[in-house]
Amino acid sequence: MIGRHFRFAGLLGVAVAAFALVPRLGGDYAIGVALNLLMWIALTQSWVVLSAMTGYVSLGHAVFFGAGAYVMVLCFGSLPFWLSVIVAGAATGALALAVGYPCLRVRGPYFVILTFGLAELVKFVVINIEAGLGQFGRLLFGGPGLAQIFYVVLVLAALSVAVTWFVRRSRFGRGLRAIRENEEAAETLGIDVARFKVLAFALSAIVPGMVGAAMVLRTTYFEPLDLFNPITSFTIVSIAIIGGGDDVPGPIYGAFFLVLMQELLWANWPEVYMILLGGLLVAFVLGVPDGIHGRVAAWRRSRR
């Protein structure tokens, strides 16, 4: 049992060290691709903690990404970069705690559309606040360089991978998965269902907030429509479904697959890319419900 944790820590350390070499060896393009990959891994791992483990599928994870970015914009210039990132994570965690209790009473598909509606509501509220302040998009000059953002997102990706790993193997994680299988039964067994769900929601909101805060400085431009884009939420869900499962490997497989597709298609054929992504989601839900991770695991079992 302990050996497994050591092996995981070793693998994670090797992966982080390998990624840390990218800014030293590669150019801006390589850093950009690796940054993109790490961002999606971080976002999807945090989604897994809530949605794959409890079965409460969130289609509004972009709300935390966008809210974190907005906190960074508001702190920009008055706080150091790293401190703003932490403040953003604390703020989105608090946001999740505040809205979590009423939202998580709503179940199944209603929860799914509720999260989507919530993300849209926050987006329009931010747009209106910005319009009220007389701001229409903000320029953020003098922020950290690409390599610095990369290292921050690398740390966040490692953090979110570790959170998924330990939650999945903890008492708390067993409780969450019991809620997914049968909420009433879980409650009868003494699991504090409401508290577990809200904690998972808050836990899954912190990393996206910090990632959003770091990523907004990459473009040096803040535009609410881009940062609260529902496509972000949709992409997270697609990565998780394509990758499959409620553990660490799924989002990593899914993110590699998606970033490859993005590199090939996004720049020249964005609509074709979105159509393919939608098609893949349909195909995986219907044909491969356990995702790439499930297929790989089945293949490895069959070789033994």
């Binding site: 199944g108 799914v112 559309i113 979105m274």
Partner: protein
């Protein structure tokens, strides 16, 4: 100061209510009969809008006629989607909650495909066409003729739907399926056939609603989702699976939207819709008129 009692606002609210009522009717029908939340509903509406736009632009035939084409095509498309995708989910999954979550992701994928396929074919530019835009004076207020036509057709279709579900054998069987699925099966309702009909009918109504909306608003590939959300608000207000309650819900939402925007600014419109949506889901998921609850 705005005159809240003006006929102008009243007409605007009624027209919007007729549209919302129609969009929500289709969504409610599909939800009621098979517990599928059709998030691609707004995209069917968008396709109906494009059909009306192109028919008018290319042949000069107005939406009042292309509506029938939309009815047939959207109905056929609905039957195809049900046969190829939804029936497999309904069969394969074990738990009812899993069916709901899976079908939602499935239909979400379909809606992304439709949006981007239309954007790829016709570009993302919003399009509009002039049709029946001369002004009609009734008493002291003025209204464009297209709004009156939309209101008339919307009311006629809603009335026809209510009669269909009260009087025809098929309509009664579908209602039986909505109210008591197991009992309906026991008394010999052909569940599979009724589901197919309900699905196809739901899509057909959405296609017609799209034609009507294209007379008043610009069509664009991404116009559908706000209507899907509005339709969700309406059916939750009126009670899930309660077809007549939906019409009352449509009036409530349309009034909130029209008078809310009149009291504030146009930029508040999205906040109002999504705000009502969340408030209703969180605080009153059983609807205004009672009925089944979504919360334990």
């Amino acid at each position: 100061m705005i005159d809240l009692f003006s006929g102008q606002l009243l007409i605007a609210a009624l027209v919007l209510a007729a549209i919302y009522g129609l969009v929500a009717l289709g969504l409610n029908l599909i939800y009621g009969t098979m517990r599928l939340l059709n998030v691609a509903h707004g995209e069917i509406l968008m396709l109906g809008g494009y059909l009306a736009y192109w028919t008018f632009t290319l042949t000069g035939v107005g939406p009042v006629w292309s509506m029938f084409l939309a009815l047939a095509l959207a109905g056929a498309f609905g039957a195809a989607v049900y046969r190829t995708l939804c029936r497999r989910v309904l069969r394969s999954s074990r738990l009812i909650e899993q069916i709901e979550a899976n079908s939602l992701l499935l239909l979400f994928g379909v809606s992304i495909i439709l949006q981007n396929a239309v954007a790829l074919s016709f570009t993302a530019t919003a399009r509009a066409y002039p049709y029946l835009d001369d002004i009609v004076r009734i008493g002291t207020f003025q209204v464009t003729a297209d709004r009156l036509v939309v209101l008339g057709i919307g009311l006629a279709l809603s009335l026809a739907a209510i009669l269909f579900f009260r009087l025809s054998a098929t309509g009664l069987q579908i209602r039986a399926l909505i109210q008591q699925p197991d009992a309906a099966l026991l008394v010999g309702v052909d569940v599979e056939r009724m589901r197919l009909i309900a699905f196809s009918l739901g899509f057909a109504i959405a296609g017609v609603a799209g034609c009507l909306i294209s007379m008043l608003e610009q069509v664009s590939p991404f116009m559908g989702f706000p209507f899907t959300i509005a339709a969700f608000v309406v059916i939750i207000l009126g009670g899930l699976g309660n077809l007549a309650g939906g019409l009352a819900g449509a009036l409530v939402l349309a009034a909130i939207e029209v008078y809310g925007v009149a009291l504030t600014t146009a930029s508040m419109r999205s906040i109002l819709i999504y705000g009502v949506f969340i408030a209703v889901l969180v605080w009153r998921p059983q609807g205004l008129f009672g009925g089944r609850s979504l919360v334990r």
